[in-house]
């Protein structure tokens, strides 16, 4: 099958012959042998060696665990199987590939199984919580009742975390009422009033994102409650959550504001608008979806925090809607207190409350995703697409209508379509 390229000789060049020759094989290849090659990277042999390695590893691990050295627990068995699988797969690939291909395959397997393991863990966290909590969640009283008349031994049909749901909502409302205006103003200060002072503020804010949440709770406990003499209350918990959320919020809003294109701002200034007008009519509308996402994600963090609330809100079994007076429990705190009890029903309630908490976070998260996806570029793209569709529909209608009634109203249909595209 070797090919013999014909060397251009001086004579042929002198004779005016072409000096470039296509290499020609000395054998005629039959046409049907030139099958189309697949360029896909996956070959049947690869898949087979993968499956073979899995089966071999499973079999070996079983033999190993039953005959040689007993392995206790499913986790240990899986670990041993995985190690064996890697070794066998490497061996199988090494049989007919070079060393670098072996490395490539092993790296691919490790990377993909690592990512798979992460998703598996998350699924296990979600499903385990739901599985343990579903007994409590199916009873509607979990959402409406409080724990005033319910003891640890009472069945799941009595008592609930209604007071904790209300408490969570009140506390996060207090925190948001302070965090959103203050956070956005401060972020505007960082981007719109640049200078050494705002750089200093930015450094301090970034430093405070490192503040452990329990220390934020400790701060409110020793200042607001012990020095100023307030009760442990929903307000104190809201303030503790505020101290924790504020730096996160400012940082996120700062990033969003810095992403607003400078050309937009310059266009506004060039048209004669002042800085305030520019912020109001250009910066804030452009950053709106990003800001919404930042707020919602910060809210999800704030709702889930236990430690600041643990130190500042106190614990109560009854519903308290007054944020300034008396202890007020929140959902994570309720989970934390319930789970300390050895009674299975209390633990089931704890998991039920955790499911409610997760649902709350999930709703926030999904709404953040939906709102966050609506950025300016996508919106304008969608508007263009809609306009194109409308144009086509109108054009189609214009073409159908004349054919049935009027033979030649062509100009009218085009004017209609252009009109709709501008609308």
């Amino acid at each position: 099958m070797s090919t013999i390229p014909q060397q251009p000789t001086p004579q042929s060049a002198a004779l005016g012959q072409p000096t470039t020759f296509l290499p020609q094989s000395d054998q005629e290849v039959p046409a049907e042998a030139q099958a189309r090659r697949t360029t896909s990277g996956v070959r049947i042999g690869d898949t087979l060696s993968l499956i073979g390695a899995v089966l071999a590893a499973l079999a070996l691990a079983t033999v190993f665990s039953t005959q040689v050295a007993p392995i206790r627990g499913s986790l240990a068995f899986i670990l041993v199987t995985y190690a064996l699988f890697l070794a066998i797969y490497a061996l199988l690939v090494w049989l007919d590939e070079s060393a670098s291909v072996v490395v490539d395959r092993i790296v691919a397997v490790i990377v993909q199984s690592g990512a798979f393991l992460l998703v598996l863990t998350l699924t296990s966290v979600l499903f385990y919580t739901v599985e343990r909590g579903h007994k409590a969640v199916v009873h509607a009283n979990l959402f409406t009742h409080d724990m005033t008349t319910t003891g640890p031994l009472d069945p799941l049909t009595s008592g609930g975390v209604g007071h904790a749901i209300v408490g969570t909502l009140i506390q996060i409302t207090i925190a948001l009422a302070i965090t959103i205006p203050l956070g956005i103003t401060a972020a505007l200060f960082l981007t719109e009033v640049p200078g050494p002072f705002s750089r200093f503020v930015r450094t301090i804010v970034e430093a405070m994102t490192a503040l452990p949440s329990v220390v934020a709770g400790l701060f409110i406990l020793s200042s607001f409650i012990l020095v100023l003499g307030f009760d442990k209350s929903g307000l104190a918990a809201g303030l503790a959550i505020t101290v924790m959320m504020l730096p996160i919020m400012i940082r996120a809003a700062d990033v969003v504001f810095r992403l607003v294109p400078g050309t937009l701002k310059e266009a506004s200034l060039g048209l004669g608008a002042g800085q305030f007008r520019t912020v109001l009519n250009v910066v804030l509308p452009t950053a709106r979806s990003g800001l919404t996402t930042a707020i919602i994600l910060a809210t999800a963090r704030g709702i889930g925090e236990t430690s600041p609330v643990l130190l500042t809100a106190g614990f109560t079994a009854s519903l308290n809607t007054n944020p300034v007076h008396g202890p007020m429990v929140s959902l994570p705190l309720a989970v934390f207190e319930f789970v300390k009890s050895p009674e299975p029903n209390m633990v089931a309630r704890a998991f039920g409350a955790a499911v409610v908490l997760m649902l709350l976070v999930l709703v926030l998260f999904v709404s953040a995703r939906i709102l966050g996806a609506q950025d300016v570029a996508k919106k304008s793209k969608r508007r263009q697409r809609n306009a194109a569709i409308r144009r086509r529909v109108v054009g189609l209608a214009g073409r159908i209508r004349p054919s049935s009634s009027d033979p030649a109203p062509e100009p009218e249909s085009t004017s209609l379509s252009t009109g709709s595209s501008h609308a």
Binding site: G73, L75, A76, S100, D104, V107, A108, V111, Q112, G114, A115, L118, V119, V125, Y128, T129, R132, L182, T185, A186, L188, E192, V193, I204, E206, A207, M208, A210, L211, P212, V214, V215, A216, L218, F219, L221, S222, S223, L226, V243, L246, P247, G274, Q275, A300, R301, G304, T306, S307, L310, L311, P332, V335, F336, V339, A354, L357, M358, F365, R369
Partner: protein
């Protein structure tokens, strides 16, 4: 027209007019002034709150630090009532839990970030990004429940196996275990540093992953294609192009995750059983961290006890602060730039 202008300037030059830059005088109208005033007031308020937290912590911690002196960093016990307390054991415990968390989280995050940027098909990519973000939003108490009720039972057998066969390595040593111990005594292995660290690791994995993914996705296409054109396999591209490019982001992300791991409270509190001696055996039951110490002791503490807890909290805060600043400077200096 042009001629006219020329003439005018010539005349001006003749009359001794010297061309010099005009003074730019910026006149802001009233709304702008109010806006800048309000924004600055917001900035100053935030600054005051943040400084208040810091100075208040320091002031409140001062009595305890003054009482204990340098012994605060060398004493292991925590008895503020008898004036015998220190953070030696607590800090070591915190760092051990955080180290276990980072050792678990970094390979996992690297794999996931590489999978998202290098291997995943387009649709899986968005699914994975959503999953990682969701994982970051799940409350820590849920991870704590999962770790306490689910992982602990599953992991005890693995801990027992490691302790029996690798107990000669100091950190895996568990006192009271030899090769003939019945493994039914699982209580030796529950509530350990390892389990707390694993759960915290699960919590910081999404943080690290999202930073690494961001950095890996900025690897220049030309360099990737260059490596592929020179005959590199996918693993070769990762080793020679992606990882070196993203090294700064990887280190920065890891340090940010470490900062988060140091401050984690509730999940650790649920899992550990507190001990106040330096406990270097990560499989052995019993561990402690600064934040769980605060959550454990604040209720019974008198004002001096609170001061001591404040001192511990301040130590933790300063530690996370240093790590965070180091992380952001590493990320900013790396080739991939300040992406986070």
């Amino acid at each position: 027209m042009l001629h006219l202008v020329r003439e005018v300037t010539d005349d001006a030059a003749i009359e001794g007019f010297i061309d010099q830059p005009r003074k730019i005088k910026l006149v802001r109208d009233l709304p702008d002034k109010i806006f800048r005033g309000v924004a600055s007031a917001g900035g100053v308020t935030v600054l005051l709150i943040m400084l208040l937290v810091g100075t208040f912590l320091a002031l409140k911690a001062a009595p305890a630090l003054h009482q204990a002196g340098f012994k605060f960093f060398t004493t292991q016990a925590w008895n503020p009532d008898s004036k015998h307390f220190g953070v030696a054991a607590v800090l070591v415990g915190t760092i051990l839990i955080a180290l276990v968390a980072v050792v678990v989280a970094v390979p996992l995050s690297t794999c996931t970030a590489l999978y998202i940027t290098e291997y995943a098909p387009r649709r899986m990519k968005t699914v994975f990004i959503g999953v990682i973000d969701l994982m970051a939003a799940i409350p820590s108490i849920v991870y704590g429940l999962w770790g306490f009720f689910f992982l602990q039972a599953k992991l005890a057998s693995v801990s027992a196996w490691i302790a029996q066969h690798f107990g000669w390595i100091p950190i895996f040593h568990v006192s009271g275990v030899n090769s003939h111990t019945a493994i039914s005594s699982y209580t030796l292995f529950t509530s350990s540093t390892l389990i707390a660290g694993l759960v915290v690791g699960m919590m910081i994995t999404p943080v690290i992953t999202s930073i690494m993914r961001e950095v890996f996705s900025q690897v220049p296409m030309g360099e990737r294609e260059g490596a592929l054109g020179l005959g590199a396999t996918k693993a070769g591209v990762i080793r020679t192009v992606v990882l070196p490019f993203g090294r700064g982001g990887m280190i920065g992300g890891t340090m940010l995750g470490l900062g988060r791991a140091l401050g984690e409270t509730i999940a650790v509190y649920l899992i550990i059983s507190p001990v106040f001696t330096i406990q270097p055996h990560i499989l052995q039951s019993g561990a402690i961290s600064v934040s769980s110490l605060i959550a454990l002791q604040f209720a019974e503490a008198n004002s001096f006890g609170l001061s001591a807890l404040m001192a511990a909290g301040l130590t933790l805060f300063l530690m996370t602060l240093v790590i965070n600043f180091a992380a952001s400077s590493v990320v900013a200096r790396s080739r991939s730039g300040a992406s986070s």
